[in-house]
Amino acid sequence: MPAINVSKALDQSHASGVFDLAEIPLRELNQALHDLTPGSNQTAWEVLNPKGSHSVAVGVDQPVTIDVRGSVGYYCGGMNDGSAITVHGSAGPGVGENMMSGSITVKGDASQYAGATGRGGLLVIEGNASSRCGISMKGIDIVVHGNIGHMSAFMAQSGNLVVLGDAGDALGDSIYEARLFVRGKVGSLGADCIAKEMRPEHLALLQDLLDRAGVTGVKAAEFTRYGSARTLYNFNIDNADAY
């Protein structure tokens, strides 16, 4: 896409930061977001008619707010680094995949692998999340108001996954050092994932996450903490013969 088209689109019809995807190609939206520089005055963006589009607002690296009015497809907000994205609808697979910092809030449900491999920032799902939520998370914080599906937090390395509802089967399979807080039932725990004691520092951490995610009327003490038994990823001298 020639740069001139982008600036033209911005100058003429998008001075207000409103992009109607029924009229403007997705690439122009994402290019305009990528063209933002530090200190830009254009800090509030709105995306209309996403209608399940893939890759809406991926790779944004400036602290702007982006309100997406409707449901999105794959990878919304992927690699987000500092922006605050709100999806006023549901999100397809891979919302916030590899987020670095900033926040993403999904007002509806999220499909598979929400927040996968995320390294930072806060992902809030106000509805339910599907399977593999937080798979391979590496520092992201994820708060799900509803339930999460099976194989969530698989090989999760660090960060916090908070679930106000229930978790599906094989939660935290092969987990490293991420913390999982579940308020409801857990279908089953994956290999090397165990329930752990809730110490004061965990209660404080969880309360802070609940506050930042806008959760009210729920106490940190209602949750159970799960994490790694550390028998799988640490070398165990008793197993030396197996190698």
């Binding site: 399940g52 589009s53 449901s71 794959y74 449900d109 499909s111 598979q112 599906g149």
Partner: protein, 298 residues
């Protein structure tokens, strides 16, 4: 990848639009699979005739005068409506097997896509839009239908390798995924007497369901069986004469979204496929659970 769609109408007022709604849904998923596309439409039952959908690589030659030759061969009236490379043969329900045999004897190169009282199946190599235009699917009416756009993984890009696959009267299936035990299951089904047209894994899934239903199971029970008897990745959308079903394997990697209103139940590989359906903004939209059978019947 592949894209699959399904639409089951509850509101009769929408039946004239079934073909256009399903076409639009399928076209919206074109970039999930550009190799070939297909659609099965369940029309209104006429009560006294059956339909056989057939396909030929040389339609002008193969379909020419075939109605008269078939009528003569079976001793009963036969009509043929040609649509591009496909044609629908109409005959008395009791004559279906005889007509199939006569077609194979008179025109050995013709391939049978499927048969039943209400189903018509159209599939070809090409993009969904090309296939939909070629067969004028938008003008078709009906009660329910399923569609598929293919990115081939398990067998060749050919007309017969396209979905839907039909292996029983008014039964057909579309599949997103790949099966790993299809050769074994095919061998077992062949021993039972099932016939196969291709080396395709999805045809085995269709034949498995046909076999289960022939043994007296309903659609829901047959779909339940896929969870223990088929190994691999799958989201299946299945049509029967009066029913519509969905099942995903327990791992459920293959995407799926469903929507239900008072007017319809719809399935799409992605939400994109559902965005132009009437009343979608107020529909109940959800992701079907893994290893869970969903089915509706008229």
């Amino acid at each position: 990848m592949c894209g699959i769609v399904g639409l089951f109408l509850k509101d009769k007022a929408l039946e004239p639009q079934l073909g256009s709604m399903l076409s639009q849904m399928l076209i919206s998923l074109s970039d999930r699979g550009p190799d070939s596309a297909g659609i099965a439409i369940y029309g209104a039952p006429s009560g006294n005739e059956a339909k056989i959908t057939m396909q030929s690589a040389k339609p002008e030659q193969d379909f020419s005068n075939l109605d008269a030759e078939l009528a003569k061969a079976i001793g009963a009236p036969v009509s043929i409506a040609v649509k591009s490379t496909h044609a629908v043969v109409r005959t008395a329900p009791a004559k279906v097997d005889e007509v199939r045999e006569a077609i194979q004897a008179l025109r050995p190169d013709i391939r049978i896509m499927g048969a039943g009282e209400v189903v018509e199946i159209y599939k070809e190599v090409g993009l969904p839009e090309t296939v939909v235009d070629r067969f004028d699917v938008r003008s078709m009416t009906g009660t329910h239908g399923i569609g598929h756009t293919r990115m081939a993984t398990e067998s060749a890009v050919t007309t017969m390798g396209a979905h839907p696959f039909s292996t029983g009267a008014d039964q057909c299936l579309v599949h997103n995924g790949s099966l790993s035990n299809h050769n074994n299951v095919r061998r077992e089904l062949i021993r039972e007497g099932m016939k196969f047209e291709t080396e395709n894994d999805t045809e085995v899934a269709a034949a498995y369901l046909s076999s289960q239903m022939a043994h007296g199971k309903n659609l829901g029970e047959a779909l339940e069986g896929t969870l223990s008897d088929l190994d691999g990745f799958f989201t299946f959308v299945v049509g029967t004469k009066n029913g519509f079903g969905v099942v995903r394997d327990p791992i459920a990697c293959k995407p799926a979204v469903m929507a239900e209103t008072d007017q319809y139940v719809a399935f799409g590989s992605e939400y994109r496929a559902l965005t132009k359906l009437p009343g979608i903004d107020n529909a109940r939209v959800w992701e079907p659970e893994p290893a869970t059978v969903y089915f509706w019947e008229h």
